[in-house]
Symmetry: D3
Subunit: 304 residues, 6 copies
Amino acid sequence: MSYARTTCFSGYCWGLDESQVIVLGAPLEETTSYRPGTRFAPRAIREASAYIEYWSLRGKLDVDEHVRFYDAGDALVEQPLEKALEAIGDAVERLSGVGKPLVVMGGEHTITLGIVEGLVRAGYKPCMVQLDAHMDMRSEYAGRRVSHATFARLVVSEVGVPVVLAGVRGFVREELEFARANHVPVIDAHRLQDESVAAVIPAVSKLIEKSVCNHLHLTLDMDVVDPGFAPGVSNPEPEGITPRILLDIVFEVARLAVLRGMSLSMDVVEVSPPYDAGGVTSVLAAKAIVEFAAGVVAARSSAR
Amino acid sequence: MSYARTTCFSGYCWGLDESQVIVLGAPLEETTSYRPGTRFAPRAIREASAYIEYWSLRGKLDVDEHVRFYDAGDALVEQPLEKALEAIGDAVERLSGVGKPLVVMGGEHTITLGIVEGLVRAGYKPCMVQLDAHMDMRSEYAGRRVSHATFARLVVSEVGVPVVLAGVRGFVREELEFARANHVPVIDAHRLQDESVAAVIPAVSKLIEKSVCNHLHLTLDMDVVDPGFAPGVSNPEPEGITPRILLDIVFEVARLAVLRGMSLSMDVVEVSPPYDAGGVTSVLAAKAIVEFAAGVVAARSSAR
Amino acid sequence: MSYARTTCFSGYCWGLDESQVIVLGAPLEETTSYRPGTRFAPRAIREASAYIEYWSLRGKLDVDEHVRFYDAGDALVEQPLEKALEAIGDAVERLSGVGKPLVVMGGEHTITLGIVEGLVRAGYKPCMVQLDAHMDMRSEYAGRRVSHATFARLVVSEVGVPVVLAGVRGFVREELEFARANHVPVIDAHRLQDESVAAVIPAVSKLIEKSVCNHLHLTLDMDVVDPGFAPGVSNPEPEGITPRILLDIVFEVARLAVLRGMSLSMDVVEVSPPYDAGGVTSVLAAKAIVEFAAGVVAARSSAR
Amino acid sequence: MSYARTTCFSGYCWGLDESQVIVLGAPLEETTSYRPGTRFAPRAIREASAYIEYWSLRGKLDVDEHVRFYDAGDALVEQPLEKALEAIGDAVERLSGVGKPLVVMGGEHTITLGIVEGLVRAGYKPCMVQLDAHMDMRSEYAGRRVSHATFARLVVSEVGVPVVLAGVRGFVREELEFARANHVPVIDAHRLQDESVAAVIPAVSKLIEKSVCNHLHLTLDMDVVDPGFAPGVSNPEPEGITPRILLDIVFEVARLAVLRGMSLSMDVVEVSPPYDAGGVTSVLAAKAIVEFAAGVVAARSSAR
Amino acid sequence: MSYARTTCFSGYCWGLDESQVIVLGAPLEETTSYRPGTRFAPRAIREASAYIEYWSLRGKLDVDEHVRFYDAGDALVEQPLEKALEAIGDAVERLSGVGKPLVVMGGEHTITLGIVEGLVRAGYKPCMVQLDAHMDMRSEYAGRRVSHATFARLVVSEVGVPVVLAGVRGFVREELEFARANHVPVIDAHRLQDESVAAVIPAVSKLIEKSVCNHLHLTLDMDVVDPGFAPGVSNPEPEGITPRILLDIVFEVARLAVLRGMSLSMDVVEVSPPYDAGGVTSVLAAKAIVEFAAGVVAARSSAR
Amino acid sequence: MSYARTTCFSGYCWGLDESQVIVLGAPLEETTSYRPGTRFAPRAIREASAYIEYWSLRGKLDVDEHVRFYDAGDALVEQPLEKALEAIGDAVERLSGVGKPLVVMGGEHTITLGIVEGLVRAGYKPCMVQLDAHMDMRSEYAGRRVSHATFARLVVSEVGVPVVLAGVRGFVREELEFARANHVPVIDAHRLQDESVAAVIPAVSKLIEKSVCNHLHLTLDMDVVDPGFAPGVSNPEPEGITPRILLDIVFEVARLAVLRGMSLSMDVVEVSPPYDAGGVTSVLAAKAIVEFAAGVVAARSSAR
Ligand SMILES: [Mn+2]
Ligand SMILES: [Mn+2]
Ligand SMILES: [Mn+2]
Ligand SMILES: [Mn+2]
Ligand SMILES: [Mn+2]
Ligand SMILES: [Mn+2]
Ligand SMILES: [Mn+2]
Ligand SMILES: [Mn+2]
Ligand SMILES: [Mn+2]
Ligand SMILES: [Mn+2]
Ligand SMILES: [Mn+2]
Ligand SMILES: [Mn+2]
């Protein structure tokens, strides 16, 4: 005795076994310094996902025909921060173990630290591609060592994950120096907008080859997009990329990972619904997840 | 392998068997003539329900300690209107058959026609208490015979349900005449605000005694409340009652039905989240459901 | 060859000859010091007027059955302020000459100065009832002699109109002293909320008797209502009256004027749609106009 | 005795005889499945039209100097859907008979079916250019055969109108197959953004030549534009075109029709003011109507 | 060389020496579980304070004539929570030492713990009056021992401050039991609305007499007011008190303290501007500070 | 005894002597004809400035390391308009005399007339670069000779300042003719978007050479940007430039002035926070000020 729910990603509540892609919410909001609201993002992205179209111009296919999403609900986010990151990591550890592409919907960017730790605990050797207006590589921020402004430094220096960073335009000197010292390739926002996917894929390919990673994690801070197209973020920063370039990169990164025989995951973070005028940021975030799935399907089709 | 969801009413997803009250969504929006948005109400009320407190000043008890809600999700609302009302009626028929108090979250007021038809199909003989700024007893509205402005006439004349109507202040002459001709007691908004529950309970008692109904259905059009306290409705009409009087009536009606040994149900309709400035209407709607449950618990406690 | 418009007050575009009440817009916004937006009020009130109900609980009648509104459109509001006030005055002069009750929708409160000057030019001897959170009797404000904060002083001292002032709670000493020196009865907000219409009608009656006015003008600054019920105003001031008391006064003042054989007019000012969360202030403003018409109809019916 | 109104398109209420372009509202909202609000669009577009500038960079001319708009008001939109479409068709039949370019402001996209039927009843043989993120060529949607998601299929298969479709990015396989089977040229969003007007005009020219149509109808679903520039639509879909390309196409299509000696019309649909953050979508819709008029003027000037 | 600023409380930036009342901001937001935004409250309350009127109906005086506010700016709120509370406490310690009434604008309710600790460090023996919809006396909340839902328990049990609690309607059993066990008088929301200041002053008088406190601190959680009048709060809870009763209590408590020869302070917390539809909550918060000052002035005048 | 404030530009309140760039607010809003709200812009831009990043991709430097901003507060804006413009001019006269780059945050565009008059009174010979969707060169507007739609004509014809105008797309014939007759180079919006800074710098260089100005003033009407990126303006006009081109021009114009040894200033006007969906316009305005400072720093560095 059960009636239709519209609260799972895509509007359908498929079971884990019948699914091709897994979706998890992580509504963490603890270190947000400016505009609050990321705690409401998983809900808003799920809602948007029920209404957008699932055709992919890039894959020339209807994602709806190929992918059923399993929505695992939200990880339990409780105080203190360490406990929340651990809960997110535990969920990722178990869900990534299933061997299907996994998408996590934040929440603030700090969740990515929990995610990569979960991947490592699950036995993966992840490489990470970070699309972000910021570097998130400070040594400390607002009195915290672990925060949305420091997490990527910890991913590199403590978890030991190789990273490619693209779309940046707002950072401080210590972040730039950390990136250089740690051999993190940095593609700034102007170059990313001008060269698009052509600036990213070679860097990712090189990273994969150089490192010995067997898993690709794409972390998508929605503030990498221009505030005109994605106003609903915690820290809007002018001069971001267009949605088309964002989706090009998401599709190609997913495709690359599958073609290389790697397992893969993605997170979409920093969406802040209270500031999302017209709801366009949630819609774009949902579309990015669809295009991620399209990249997976396209790669598998071409592989056949 | 499943993580915490916050999308069930009360924030917890209890099973049907372990529950004391059942909740169902009916996001119907088809005949709304003025401010649209009731389609989003079940989602908004569920969200509000996860954050408010469950203490009842009237019952002097914590509803959380006594009631677990089973959230049956949303009834499938599809075109045409008749099909949607039938689907709502089917859900109500089955869920009311379980023998636990049932709450339906609209959607527009038209769902109440589907609900009472479902109750009748389940074998109940319902009486209805309608709290509303309007009578909803027109013979036709905007070219439609079945609509949010006509449903109560059909409940009376076609389904044959005895009705008490309270809180009205906006109507036309044919509605007033229909009510009189059909012996519907009408308590207007001024009197309801002045006399509160004392104006309602005697009328309901008399209705129950006079009729041979064994089930009490309370239909709560949130526009009965003053727009200052409930701005998020399709048709705001000044001079409504205060939240305190609303909750007094909800509590006492629920209590009365249980004390009389009747089965009972409620619907909460016409909430329009896009117009719900500050979210206060959804919060009040959620609280009304909690106070309904409190009335049930209080009656059962006193009965013991 | 013409299709339905919904842009006249009440949703119907009646001709002047077939009408019983005249409505005029005066979207003046020039001296507003705090929250802007009154320029959009006539549009918003017209929109609300097309959807609310026209039943009057006070008159026990459907205003729709008795009153057709002629909507004269908006007076041409142009720079400088003097020119705009003159245009409003000219419109009022001509429209009031028709001999039907006239309602002007502001715009900022300064329009009332133009209105009473127009009434005087049309040959009337007006008395004025002002419902307002403020006195608007400063000698100067923000460098201006004529403004929304000074107009009432000019109405009294320059146009020579006797005034009753009710609902006030925000003012400075010089205003209080001016009111006292000029024999303006002042009913503060606490007393108005406690005594309602009973505090107003005797004062108005005395004013009419003492003066030799043959026309009653009611000026309704919507900030007289509590911001909880009327958030969409330029200068929200806590502790206002409830909508029910507002409508009681509007109805009774209109009724009184007709019963005394006086001609009458009203303005509704200071509504600021950009701040009107949930649209409830425009709805209440529209309802006040309906209840004004109801008072007229009720008086005429009882007179027969 | 009449005062200035600002409720006609362009802010001026010209008569039919003195006008060069006719504007009609069609606030139909009946089959909208996702974000409601198109019922309020004609009002919002008229408001925006009173404030924007009328210079055309493309035509190098001030539209205000050449075009007076006759605003015919809104077609009467009543239940059921068939009746509403017929009323819209009747209005179009009569107004298009006047022989002046006609613009219809929706409302949802379904109105276009009524419009082309009206054009046919008026004796025209229309061809249609559709700018849309979607194909609107489903065989059924949400239980309806006639809806905003199916109307274009009916325009092609039942009314027999040849169509060019541009800007699409969200659709399902059956729509793509229908378009192919019916020889509908489809220019997807990526190609439209890359090639702009150069992708459209040859397709339209070929259509005109191949078919024997003597009237060109341009239907403009505002969701063809990227949600960053046009958030206020029912179904936002990422990766739309820029406003500049939109206006290029509108101008050139209007110009082409006049140069070919064809009569012409346009509709602008799917604007949803409640979601129109900052009001930019209504402004763009109004500008599209101005640029349509500019295209007409430019063609006539060059023809002389 | 300095120009007019409008960013100090009251719109004027007076010096400490020339001031009669001190204002401090404490934009702490760290443990907020539901609706975020209290971090923006000091800014919003300051803005509102520059526009409201300073007349007090209760004191029959213009506060502007008697009180100049010194705005000390915002305390530095940094991670972790303990450090922020200490910074707030330090500021309070120093500012309260000046011997003038002090008002702190939150921020979440947790700041009150820092405030009372600062008062104690400054050598005061404070008693506290808490107006709140909630008790804030849980032993733990969302994994935290110190939070907006636990602070009052710590104020009582760890700082040893006697408390009177009024306006409550949402709480759990352990809070009620803690209050009883610790002799905290509890006036629930229904009683507070019915009896108003008459329910509070005797309880406060008794508290002062029974205890040996020489300082009175009034903590005002704006959610004590009904959400219809104060929508902009983190945790809206229906059935709150009206603004008039709130201001009655604020005025009388301030007056009482001065008449008893006690020093005094107040905080206004939990205002959440992003949810403050129409800005009415910030306006009411600013007015409460004005009425607090009025109470002080009135007491001193009567004392003379 | 003073605590951290966040109300100065950049979030830090530096003294005049220790500063490198001066910021002044001018919240004038008097002649705004369409969407009000520019009175709130200085406050909103200051708030945004406290959160954005200060890295400049163009200068490859952190502005925070080189520039401390002195925030002079707001000029006192009082009635009548002439007095307000004089007050703004006086502030500019004194602050520009300090010899540091000066930025004025409007307010409506009319303030620029006051600014250039102040510059002239301070002894400068200014040239002006105007980025604007409009020309602002009408001879009269809405009954006013001095307004946001006429100010640039007065700057040219009465103050005698040479002007370059770029980004225009909305104007009337008399403005175009005035520009031509007065040798004002005009770069329209299409050309500015296509050629970017390459279209502007040569025109500015020529202007500087041809004229004998020793000061460069850049006036930035935010409506020059496309409404998709800058919705929060009084008069949104489609087809504006992108943020990247805007910032390119701001940076290069500032750099050019310093390299030529000229003193320089900028204003940022027409931001309307009530319409600034998602706050993105204020963020972009704040960033433009940062990039202006970056241009100054970059020029000085290269000069060394
Ligand atoms: Mn970021
Ligand atoms: Mn990030
Ligand atoms: Mn109703
Ligand atoms: Mn109803
Ligand atoms: Mn007032
Ligand atoms: Mn007033
Ligand atoms: Mn579409
Ligand atoms: Mn369409
Ligand atoms: Mn509370
Ligand atoms: Mn509290
Ligand atoms: Mn402009
Ligand atoms: Mn300008």
